[in-house]
């Protein structure tokens, strides 16, 4: 029998290891993403569907970056959330607000080369309002109808006045699709070969793997800096870190803050952190102990939000006391619910509770759905315990949260994150707190009575002031516990610049070479 010794094993083993890069090099050497004409983004969500107006993907905020690269919205949002022109260059109400009028941009084209027409806009709006199509925001679009077209001018009757209509034109499902093309290929055909009018056209799409876009040379806006953009769908955060660190991608988002701090120190990479339109909050349900105002207010005063931001999120977060982040239209810095554990103890004592006789309830949270969600709730439970609140954590999936919230069956306290890309108070305070809303679990007549008139308030200044008043009332009564505004960590290769977008969009046409 032929024997081998350790030296031979080591010799051949080392030789094999040394040969690995050589063997791998002809085919497998990493393609570094430093091509001046292309941009590779390691993206955190895979695109499920190409129709930005139908189904669950249409209301997924993270997918809007991809949709906005390929499709145009009626109106657009600037990086600071101000409304600006999209495919429409003019918009407004008539004097008595019974009609709306739109002006379509001249010189806009679909990716198949045909011009964008007013008929496309009317068809898109009518389709969105059709209850049989499945647009998740259908009730909003059903608020206008009876369209008439004169050249590039469009007029419609207001069937249900909504002061936020124009902001919705730049929000979820507010996209213009090509009537003729869609009708000729159908829904399945559109999924196979989508056609939009945005800055990029679809070149290749490998579901759950990648999307390759080519710059559209007839785009009406500024020419994008990169001819080719690749979205790699890398849903695992560790893999996204590896993508950017290895140089296989130029840009990535949604990585752990610890990794963000480490990567931004590297000479080949840079980090951008920007507060975005996404907040962490605790829903309170008007059941059991939450019917006691002292308990609600104590639960709020006992939370040291700054400590949570500093210690758990490494400083990447902005503490908030209302459902409005600083960039939102109705933000009012004077409304404060300060961290005050002594006051929390006093409030609880007034209701007969103490650390020896704590008030008990359960709190629901996701684990890993948002950065440090579970850890935040653990920290909060520790803070509550110090003042006389004993809460038990129940972990659930986000799908269960949606179901329980729609049925008004959330626990007395439930952690959630609320996105609001347009920064309007109706899409935060109203829908999160108005009792009959399927998104609210707080149902009291006092609050509903204050909120309902604001829904149709035509005077914008009065509307915003009204929401600020309601936010103050909510803070005083403790109907919800806003925690913090999230900060989006973006890592990009040295040599690139990017304009961060408060709406949390990662738009390839906002990324440019540094020189």
């Amino acid at each position: 029998m032929k024997s081998i010794d350790r030296r031979q094993v080591l010799k051949y083993g080392m030789g094999g290891a040394a040969a690995l890069p050589v063997l791998a090099s002809p085919f497998g050497r990493q393609v570094l993403a430093q091509d001046p004409d292309s941009l590779t983004i390691a993206y955190n969500v895979a695109l499920p569907s190409w129709d930005p107006t139908v189904g669950t993907s249409a209301v997924n905020p993270t997918l809007q970056s991809i949709y906005k690269s390929v499709f145009d919205q009626y109106l657009d949002l600037a990086p600071d959330l101000t409304l600006k022109e999209g495919l429409l260059t003019g918009w407004g109400w008539n004097d008595d607000r019974t009609q709306v009028h739109f002006e379509l941009r001249e010189g806009a084209f679909w990716h198949d080369g045909t011009p964008v027409t007013a008929e496309d806009v009317v068809w898109s709006l009518s389709r969105a309002a059709d209850p049989d199509v499945g647009n998740p925001v259908q009730p909003v679009w059903a608020g206008i109808g009876n369209f008439s077209v004169d050249g590039n001018s469009i007029t419609a009757d207001v069937l249900n006045f909504d002061p936020v209509l124009f902001k919705w034109l730049a929000f979820l499902t507010g996209y213009v699709l090509p009537k003729q093309y869609y009708e000729s290929v159908g829904a399945e055909g559109f999924e196979q070969k989508p056609v939009g009018s945005g800055p990029y056209m679809v070149d290749a799409f490998e579901r759950d793997s990648f999307l390759r876009l080519k710059a559209f040379d007839k785009y009406w806006g500024p020419k994008p800096a990169f001819e080719t953009v690749v979205f790699k769908f890398v849903t695992d955060a560790t893999s996204r870190v590896a993508e950017i660190e290895s140089g296989a991608s130029d840009l990535t988002i949604e990585i752990p803050y610890e990794e963000f701090d480490r990567l931004r120190e590297k000479s080949s990479l840079q980090g951008l952190s920007t507060p975005v339109s996404d907040i962490a909050m605790i829903f309170l349900n008007d059941i059991g102990p939450m019917e006691d105002e002292n308990v609600r207010l104590a639960a709020h005063h006992a939370i040291n939000k700054k400590a949570i931001v500093d210690r758990l999120l490494r400083g990447y977060g902005v503490p908030i006391d209302t459902l409005q982040a600083p960039e939102y239209a109705a933000f009012d810095a004077s409304i404060e619910v300060p961290y005050d554990p002594d006051k929390a103890k006093e409030l609880l004592a007034a209701s007969g509770f103490s650390t020896d006789n704590p008030v008990t309830f359960s709190i629901q949270t996701t684990r890993g759905f948002k950065p440090k969600d579970f850890e935040m709730i653990q920290a909060i439970i520790g803070m509550w315990r110090d003042v006389g609140i004993e809460a038990e954590i129940e972990i659930y999936e986000i799908a269960k949260h949606f179901e329980l919230r729609a049925r008004d069956e959330l626990a007395p306290a439930a952690f959630y994150n609320w996105g609001n890309s347009i920064g309007d108070p109706s899409t935060s305070t109203f829908f999160a707190m108005f009792g009959p809303s399927p998104h609210s679990v707080w149902d009291t007549d006092d609050l509903d009575g204050k909120l309902l008139p604001l829904l149709g308030e035509p005077d914008e200044a009065k509307r915003i002031a009204g929401y600020q008043e309601v936010d103050r009332y909510i803070a005083e009564k403790g109907y919800v516990i806003p925690l913090l505004q999230y900060v989006q960590p973006i890592v990009l290769r040295e040599g690139l610049t990017m304009t961060p977008h408060v709406a949390n969009y990662v738009l390839p046409h906002l990324v440019k070479p540094a020189n």
Partner: protein
């Protein structure tokens, strides 16, 4: 074992699949997570929510929904995915080849390396290489596939960036395939450059999946081989003066292989269904990755289609394993 046995097995597949269909359909509607709740619009009233249920066919009683779905499935129509808005059958079939190629390559790697380790362990029985084999199999078995995946990403993707760490192919290259079996197609066409590119994308996830299976195969085959080496026919071969290597490879291996083949067949099925985490880590577009997305978004038609596909695959592979066992084992063939 006769043809009628296999026919019986095929017929038995029908009630099995029906049972799976019933369990999956009922379970998905009992567990929490309503797909409509995930797309309720702001400001929606009860009518709007009911309308969404109607649009997605979820407004009917469960029995009516099940009967409709089952009759559609019997006609080969698995419905339309709520989230991906495409035909479920076509979606699953378009993704299955990626997972099958991954599972085949992983199994091939596992069989090859596991087989070599087992043979080495038996060949050098009682000497230090056997201890190395046992230690190696113990180590690879102790670490789950997704952790191997992360280790490979770190070492071969970041520290020593020699292999791609995401996707099935290089997104910068425009390559047209006429089927979803990219690897097989490029091999048949003789496009070795493309084949190389595909293989480098496949090798890390395949190796991550292969390592635990390699250990199982190595241990099973080593035990079977050790047993076979004590049999009379091996003694006869020794008396004839055959070398130890020849005895292992030509006399003992064939008999020792039978339980390993059965095990590998079953493990292959689990591999196809168990690629979920590895596909996720390597952003590999197979059915495992699709299954995660479907579960997160509560895409009921897609989950149902995927599970039925897994069940059908499981039955088909078990039949194939039985056939292979018959071919290898004369006692079963003539019994």
């Amino acid at each position: 074992m006769s043809g009628s046995y296999f026919l019986r097995r095929l017929l038995l597949a029908v009630p099995t699949l029906f049972g799976v269909a019933v369990i999956v359909f009922v379970l998905l509607r009992v567990v929490p997570g309503d797909p409509i709740a995930m797309m309720i619009p702001p400001g929606a009233g009860a009518d709007d929510i009911e309308n969404l249920r109607r649009v997605y066919g979820l407004d009917q009683p469960m029995l009516v929904q099940f009967t409709r779905w089952l009759s559609d499935v019997a006609r080969g129509d698995f419905g339309v995915s709520i989230n991906l808005r495409q035909d479920v059958g076509r979606l699953v079939l378009s993704r299955l080849p990626a997972s099958l190629e991954l599972a085949v390559v992983a199994t091939a790697l596992a069989v090859l390396s596991g087989g070599l380790l087992a043979i080495a362990g038996v060949y050098w029985r009682g000497r230090w290489p056997e201890a190395v084999v046992d230690g190696l199999t113990g180590l690879t078995l102790a670490i789950p596939d997704f952790l191997w995946g992360l280790v490979f990403i770190l070492v071969l993707g970041v520290l020593l960036p020699v292999l791609p760490i995401s996707g099935r192919l290089d997104p910068r290259q425009a390559i047209a395939f006429s089927s979803q079996f990219y690897l097989a197609e490029s091999l048949l066409r003789g496009e070795f450059r493309v084949l190389g590119m595909l293989f480098t994308h496949l090798v890390l996830p395949a190796a991550a999946l292969a390592l635990p299976l390699m250990a199982v195969i190595a241990r099973m085959l080593k035990t079977s081989l050790s047993e076979a080496m004590t049999q009379d026919y091996v003694l006869v071969a020794r008396v004839k003066g055959f070398t130890r290597g020849r005895i292992i490879l030509r006399e003992a291996l064939r008999n020792a292989m039978i339980p390993t083949v059965t095990l590998t067949g079953v493990q292959f099925t689990f591999l196809v269904g168990g690629t979920v985490l590895v596909e996720r880590i390597f952003s590999y577009p197979g059915i495992g990755n699709m299954a995660i997305g479907a579960v997160i978004s509560r895409d009921l038609p897609l989950i149902q289609g995927l599970i039925l596909t897994f069940a059908a695959l499981f039955i088909a592979i078990n039949l194939l394993v039985d056939l292979t066992t018959v071919m290898l084992n004369p006692r079963v063939r003539h019994g």
